[in-house]
Symmetry: C2
Amino acid sequence: VKRRATIFDVAREAGVSPQTVSRAINDKGEITEETRLRVLDVAHRLEFRPSAIARSLATNRTTAIGLVVPDIANPFFSGIARGVEDIAYSSGYSVFVCNTDEDHHREISALDSLLERQVDGVILCSSRLPEMDLDKVVRAFRSAVLVNRTLGGNQKAICTVLVDDSRGAQVAVAHLIERGRRRIAFLAGPERSWSGRKRLHGLEEALKNHGLPIDRGLIAHCEPETEDGRKAALHLLGLHPDVDSLLAFNDLVAVGALQACQELGREVPQSVAIVGCDDIPLASLVTPPLTTLRIPTREIGEAAMRSLIATIHEDQPEATQITLTPELVVRSSAP
Amino acid sequence: VKRRATIFDVAREAGVSPQTVSRAINDKGEITEETRLRVLDVAHRLEFRPSAIARSLATNRTTAIGLVVPDIANPFFSGIARGVEDIAYSSGYSVFVCNTDEDHHREISALDSLLERQVDGVILCSSRLPEMDLDKVVRAFRSAVLVNRTLGGNQKAICTVLVDDSRGAQVAVAHLIERGRRRIAFLAGPERSWSGRKRLHGLEEALKNHGLPIDRGLIAHCEPETEDGRKAALHLLGLHPDVDSLLAFNDLVAVGALQACQELGREVPQSVAIVGCDDIPLASLVTPPLTTLRIPTREIGEAAMRSLIATIHEDQPEATQITLTPELVVRSSAP
DNA sequence: CTGTTAGCGCCTTCAT
DNA sequence: ATGAAGGCGCTAACAG
């Protein structure tokens, strides 16, 4: 195990000063093409690799960023992570990924670690931190981007990337209404879910826009799982047999609704139209294939990373706010 | 934007030497409890955060590792990533995640970056690098763990974590045989797939063990997608109507096979039993629910990270080799 | 138990 | 265009 070569080794071997080596490897002009090539050649022969650590200590920049997500195994976040990493990669950044499990303590812990590592910026997804803590955290980092969360007292210019759940729901509901549906129920997911609330808002907007009444009785909360969706749908369709369409919190719930309709002998889409959300692989494979709202997770990640890079590079960064809208993927469950 | 406090600031404020501050924050004995507390108090007041960068430069350790995967958006790898990060987190390590898209250039590029960042170790998943390159790479890092790939010339003790695809397939096929199936076809996935080949091997072993003949005609390659699985199954069942069961490369392919059976009027499982692989959420939701081999991705990640930590800490690390076996989840498609 | 000295490997600034 | 000096923030090794 021999020591890695340093710029000093390269300098000696090339017969120049360390500084010249630095100039050569950093391609910062002020150096003859000839010596540059000679130095690079020596560097290559010595298998020299610049130490990012030493460089960071000297420059006060790490070209590393932190990505904080509740759970990378959740397709929503792994999609975002992929988008983030793609842009990061092509811009020379490396990405620390941290999972929080929506646990305050672990989130704080992750952020502390990122802070000590002096990342150039951080992308926070679905943070559950209270405003005050979040504000403090965001202020502590050189740059930060919030995904799926806003921060009220914008003490500091802070970029956000949001999903327009409300408009997504509006589009879906408008689709249903335009196809003649009038009694639209909503399997709203967990009460605590913010996107659930925003989608409810979108639903109501769409109803209003089309002059339809809002019936609170057609809204049922449920856990975001198939079985819970099934039960909720059974219950809802039992109480309100006149329901002619269902908007589901996500595709799993939508599949539950599909099962419920089957059990009740209600044909989909003739008797009940169903719209899911997420467009997981499953969506196109059930019978009938689900109409659903696709969330552009990868694009979200890309946008977040682009914003972050912009913030890092600009002197007076502006607080951009990007909103991406889910796309209605029309299949047979709500043609 | 005021400068971050350093140990010098804390030292001055607490009336001790920088080294004492270092001892206090690192909890390294050799310091009175009293001064330790006093120093920590000052550090806290000054919002002091040790610079991991400076520490790394001094100690030559980063407590950071690299995780290299083809695509973090692929559930297989995001599961592994989750396992890796969990263990890393509880051991104080941070994780750089890099995607390669199975592209040599990008993989090399990612590894270069990790090398420059002086990570303490690297976990390489499904590397597509040729043996020679891989060997060189592995040697370049202080520690390395291979997931889903072995390295022949074990020049250096190298830990590996593998999935026993062969045994997984054996278990699945044994299950089928014990239920009276005799003509077992295999939708083998892409020809280039290593796990596909290993599963084929497992299939043949199981047949041999039960004294059944191996019929190469019952093996069809296909892309790992539903539509390709459907076509391959249609073709196969057309040529060999006596096939009474199907092992599929993954669940998506299995669903394709399910569709094919439906089209051909072959009842599942009565006429054809189907076993998938992966146990994606979809598997339990199709009709009939899929019997499938669950791959313990999270456990793979945990094992890999544990091995890596062990390798990092030990002076003479031994090349552990961990093999995890898929678990047969029995549902209605092959009861 | 505490302080002092000397780097870790690189970049910034200023000379030449 | 190149070189020399100094410092980034911390810790290892030694001294007291």
